[in-house]
């Protein structure tokens, strides 16, 4: 690995810890989080039209508390009305 281009190890340590701590604190495995996302999307899709590809759902840290943050863009309904 090139000395000048390699990512310094402190950065990897921090990034890896950020992920591990979120899952440790919530007691939620990455697999369970995926299952949660799928169910959430199914439930929302029953009411509104969404683009599953554009959806972003993840756990974020805020000090010592965690939050589940979801960004779910809605598909425009204007086209349907025009038709």
């Amino acid at each position: 690995m090139n000395w000048f281009t390699r990512k310094r190890s402190a950065e990897s340590a921090k990034e890896r810890l950020q992920l591990v701590l979120v899952h440790d604190r919530t007691d939620l495995t990455p697999g369970q989080l995926e299952a949660l996302k799928d169910e959430l999307l199914k439930a929302i899709s029953r009411y509104i039209d969404i683009d599953p590809e554009a959806v972003q759902i993840g756990l974020e840290r805020d000090g010592r508390s965690q939050r589940l943050v979801a960004d779910i863009p809605l598909r425009s309904v204007s086209r349907n009305r025009a038709g």
Binding site: R8, A10, A13, K14, R16, Q18, V20, D24, G63, R64
Partner: protein
Amino acid sequence: MTAQVITVTSGKGGVGKTTAVANLATALAADGRKVVCIDGDIGLRNLDVVMGLENRIVYDIVDVIEGRCKLKQAMIRDKHYPDMYLIPAAQTRDKNAVSPSDMIRICNDLRPDTDFVIIDSPAGIERGFRNSIAAADRVLVVTNPEVSAVRDADRVVGILEAEEKGNPALILNRLNPVLVRNNDMLSAEDVLDLLGIQLIGIVPEDESVIIGSNRGAPVVTDPKSRAGQAFRNIAKRIQGQNVPFMDLDQQSGLWGAIQKLTGRK
């Protein structure tokens, strides 16, 4: 007097809990405080050797609990500071020899004529850890700037939150300023951001810590040691004084001067 009970814990083993307890107790005693240390690691007694008191043990904490001696008889007076005592752990294999209520009772017996009771918790999150935090008014979490130690510290902080043990404070031990400068070690800012708790001290990696424990003389007694200075500062903060954090990034010699001139960090 009514003592403040301080528990030093970490989750992961080998991060410097016992060293921290011996040094903070010695620094507090050097400031004229009356201090009693309790080794909470039943079966794996160690605080006695780090403090250089291993040859003076007659009774231990389990002897007190099981009524074989009075509390005073199990308190070993330090060689240099007459107001500092150690209550050693037992070397028994019976993990259930001590209960949380035993610890609370012993600490309450010590409170009236002591300034600080400092409990050295065992590693892990099991019985010995539960015993050690049972009587705590304040908890200090020791960690190193390494992924495994930080992860375990976070587990412990989570348990302390759940147990409503107040806000723990962090001792970041064995920080290597050169590695941090080269971005090859988590910085104090990184660790604080990850753990989300308050900082009470950063202790730089220092060979004199090992030399001190070899001799059974905590490094705070060495006026030239940087780690000793860091522990003395933490002891002042425990006593409520506002001591600025040490500048660990200072470099000496020609290389330091060159780096300063060229602005390289």
